[in-house]
Symmetry: C2
Subunit: 193 residues, 2 copies
Amino acid sequence: MAAGAREPISRGEGARRRMLEAALQVLDDDGLPGLTMEAVARRAGASKATLYRRWPTVGALLVDAMDATFQPFPAPDTGRVADDVAHLLAAFVELLDRTRFPRLLAAFIDAAERDPELAALHADLTRRRREPMIAVLTRARDRGELPAGLDPEVTTDLLTAPFFYRRFVAHRPIPPELVPEVVARVLGTGAGG
Amino acid sequence: MAAGAREPISRGEGARRRMLEAALQVLDDDGLPGLTMEAVARRAGASKATLYRRWPTVGALLVDAMDATFQPFPAPDTGRVADDVAHLLAAFVELLDRTRFPRLLAAFIDAAERDPELAALHADLTRRRREPMIAVLTRARDRGELPAGLDPEVTTDLLTAPFFYRRFVAHRPIPPELVPEVVARVLGTGAGG
């Protein structure tokens, strides 16, 4: 599903991206309460019927818009788990710093409290976002660089959660040295040293 | 400021609590967009002027309502840091499971994206919520149970963030064994064993 940046974009795909971009703009301006099919159609200069052909509900549209802001990182494989993990976390910090991803995530967090279907969709997006980290940890465990009993799921929680927490709960800056510090504390190993 | 449950409640304090309760109900029903001074006054059966005398802005009212859902835990002091930390984390998991705190926090997370003043207020609430954990870790470091170079702030991030992450981002259950597992992974020590 991950299309390379250079591939030609079909007309249908171009229209789809315009509608997702319109949805993101509506979200930016009016927040989740303003995200209606009508508002997105107006912003995109499309008909509501065109939107409904692609997305049966606003929830489905929101999930696709969220997905579009998130480019999956390929799992690095340097042969050194601390470096692979630090690489993934640095890319994630950049996502938090420089894209619309955090604002969308914040909208999801609030909406999921009232809408179990959105919570399930969000859980699925999160699961997919975690895959490269799980792959890196599993590979390192299998080659003996991490303890045989290590749980890649809990380890992924421990590695990534502090960055979400700083950004959304503590509202504190994420200094560059936090990445190697978290890696060293969680894996019991230094990154690059 | 923490009043004991048995202390008689003054008339002014009773009125204040009724208004905060009304604000929480409005938030539950209509989310943050519905939280206006007018809606809270109507729900509380009070005048808008009465509300404005206590809270100059909706943001100030929201902060007090959030604070009212959160009873600060006294910092335990069993002499064993893993037990003290596990105790605090278990109380926190209960707060996530059984109170309105998570819904309010979710509303804050979203609103803080658009309102820097709310973000600053939320950062301050978070800082106060962290104090017992910081105290427990600092005491254990000072008596030599934790390494002299340990940073209580980052350690508090590592210990608490996974629970926020599970609840708000991964939307996965928090099994009771997650508390001792996180404590053991972060402090390099078992809890109670």
